[in-house]
């Protein structure tokens, strides 16, 4: 088991290294350099100083090595568009905002989703099942930006319950969280239903019934626990979804999260910000995947034993 974990961590670093390298060279391969747009019209000497400051006068491989060295020290460079704004600092100050709304939305969404999934599975092919599946399909097919606009229209403009956008108070968080929670609700309701139906057909459930356990106890002690296992794998994608899923929502509700800055750095062609944030996302994703796999290993005894054989 330890060997397996070590192997996985090794692969994780290889993957990250490849991602960093490819992203770096791709970003540098863009026609024109990051400063061309800003340095236009400056005197020659000033221009040269600027290029020297960002290390752009060096050959490409040197720039890459310097970037790697700084990266290992947690330094992602300085914003090209806003001089003085450190990329790592921006990430550190903005990601908690995203994590907060995304995390709350995830917890709410997963709980409601699992609850709906249980209801649907226990009432298969009856009206509660159809209603839940309808909600689940809507949640998957309605684009986030449409949902956000609809919520803003009804809850903010028409009813005036919550502010349309902004950040700082608790009431600002309600609408974005509602929008972000619908995705997890939909996926978890669908997934949990099918995994629970699977479990209900298992022999050990029949055994539990024939032992004389009440329906409530069978479901609580045997069905729910075993159905929860597969849905853990879904979490990896969802944890990253906390950050990536919020691109649009943060922009539409003007929330100063990391997605908001990522989108604006794309629109500004702020190369160092794009590069830094992309690497941050990739690290997050890869680490989340690893963690979820490890958690899965801890909870599922079948997997804990299996890797030894291979």
């Amino acid at each position: 088991m330890l060997r397996y974990i070590a192997k996985r961590i090794g692969y994780m670093f290889i993957t990250l290294f490849i991602i960093v390298t490819v992203t770096f060279f791709l970003m540098r391969s863009i026609p024109g350099d990051p400063l061309a747009h800003m340095a236009r019209g400056l005197p020659e000497q000033t221009k040269a100083n600027y290029y020297a400051k960002y290390g752009l006068d060096q050959p490409l491989y040197r720039q890459y090595l310097v970037y790697l060295k700084n990266l290992l020290q947690g330094d992602l460079g300085e914003s090209v568009v806003y001089p003085g704004r450190q990329v790592s600092e921006t990430i550190v100050t903005t990601s908690p905002v995203s994590a907060k709304i995304g995390g709350i939305a995830l917890v709410i969404g997963v709980s409601i989703g699992i609850f709906l999934g249980i209801i649907a599975a226990l009432n298969k092919n009856r009206w509660p099942d159809y209603i839940v599946m309808f909600i689940a399909i809507l949640g998957v097919t309605i684009p986030v930006f449409v949902l956000a606009a609809l919520f803003q229209y009804f809850f903010a403009v028409k009813l005036g319950w919550f502010p349309t956008s902004g950040w700082g108070e608790r009431k600002h968080m309600v609408l974005p969280i509602m929008v972000l929670a619908l995705g997890p609700i939909a996926t978890y309701a669908r997934y949990f239903k099918s995994s629970m139906l699977d479990t209900l057909n298992q022999d050990y459930v029949l055994t539990a019934y024939s032992k004389g356990l009440s329906r409530f106890n069978v479901i609580r002690r045997h069905v729910l626990r075993n159905s929860a296992l597969p849905s853990i794998t879904l979490l990896a994608g969802r944890i990253v979804g906390i950050f990536t899923g919020s691109f649009l929502v943060e922009r539409m509700f003007s929330i100063p999260g990391i997605g908001f800055y990522y989108i604006s750095s794309i629109n500004n062609n702020d190369y160092s910000m794009i590069l830094g944030t992309t690497i941050f996302y990739a690290v997050l994703f890869v680490v989340a995947q690893l963690l979820v796999d490890l958690i899965y290993m801890l909870v599922d005894p079948r997997i804990r034993v299996a890797p030894e054989k291979n």
Binding site: Y11, I14, T15, I18, I19, T23, L26, M27, S29, I30, P31, I137, L138, V140, T141, I142, P143, F145, V146, A149, Q152, Y153, V157, V240, T244, F247, L248, R251, M252, I263, I266, N267, N269, I274, T278, Y281, A282, F285, V286, Q289
Partner: protein, 309 residues
């Protein structure tokens, strides 16, 4: 004495049934696709989705012509008009007819969805097929590459590529979306192929001396096709959504061209005053994604012979 013993051989007449008749096929043969189609039609929701989608495709093809307006025609006198007999879906802030624009945008959105899904599954099939066919070290290396590619968040790849390629033609978008989009299908195809390879009827075919290429063409490909078809159907809404997402953050389709995502994006800022401008493109995106998802559900049930009742 029993009467039977008095029955002589002469009393029997031959009425023309041969022993080989037991082997005769009584009813017309139902091909795999015909059978799948029959089962698909039994699924009412999926059939309804197919009908709605067909209607939408009809409008996407002919809609821009029906409206009588050019989708890029600017009319300063008819700005932000609500839906009326003259402009069925109303007009936008430049006085362009939204009915024409919505269907024109649908062409781009649907084209990206369809082409994206087909290109991705084409690459995925070949990659997965090769990986499964050779197995061993080749399989190991190829699947490791896929793992690395899959471990990068999809939207990040698409955004990054759109930034790097610095152009927003449809083909750039499709390239950006399919670059890692094929990985999922490659995995599915590989898994399916490996599963089929281990099955008894393949062994039987081999034992009967059927040549390898015939096994591939006759057994492996048709049996993988169903899974791929379902995967494509589920992928199309994904591509349509990605395009809408990219256009919404300003990386997608650029004017004068338009797409559902671009229409929704430009309508979003004026949504409070002119909700219909967002409503129509948004409804089209949701409806298309819904239809493809439901059709995918129906296809999955129809194409899998094991689910036959």
């Amino acid at each position: 004495m029993l009467p039977v013993q008095n029955v002589t051989k002469e009393q029997f007449t031959h009425i023309g049934i041969e022993i080989t008749d037991a082997e005769r096929i009584g009813r017309p043969r139902v091909s795999y696709l015909k059978d799948a189609w029959r089962r698909f039609r039994e699924n009412k929701i999926a059939t309804l989705a197919l009908i709605i989608l067909s209607i939408m495709i009809f409008f996407v093809i002919f809609g821009p012509t029906i409206s009588g307006y050019n989708y890029a025609h600017i009319d300063g006198k008819a700005r932000n008009q609500s839906p009326s007999l003259e402009h069925w879906f109303g007009t936008d802030q430049l006085g362009r007819d939204l009915f024409a624009r919505v269907w024109q945008g649908g062409r781009i959105s649907m084209a990206i969805g369809l082409i994206g899904a087909f290109v991705a599954s084409f690459i995925g099939c070949i990659y997965g097929g090769i990986s499964a066919y050779f197995g061993g070290v080749v399989d190991d290396i190829m699947m490791r590459i896929v793992e690395v590619l899959i471990s990068v968040p999809y939207l990040i790849v698409v955004i990054l590529l759109s930034v790097i390629l610095q152009s927003s033609s449809i083909w750039t978008l499709i390239l950006a979306m399919t670059l890692t989009g094929w990985c999922g299908i490659a995995r599915i195809v590989r898994g399916q192929m490996l599963q089929i390879k281990a099955q008894e009827y393949i062994m039987a075919a081999r034992a009967l001396g059927v040549r390898p290429w015939k096994i591939i063409v006759k057994h492996m490909i048709p049996n993988t096709l169903g899974v791929v078809l379902v995967a494509i159907t589920f992928d199309i809404p994904g591509y349509i959504f990605s395009e809408a997402f990219l256009s919404f953050i300003g990386l997608g389709v650029q004017p004068p061209n338009t797409s559902w995502g671009a229409l929704a994006s430009s309508a979003q800022s004026r949504f409070v005053f002119y909700p219909y401008q967002l409503l129509f493109p948004a409804m089209m995106i949701a409806l298309t994604m819904l239809c493809f998802t439901l059709i995918g559900d129906g296809l999955r049930d129809a194409l899998d012979p094991r689910l036959r009742k």
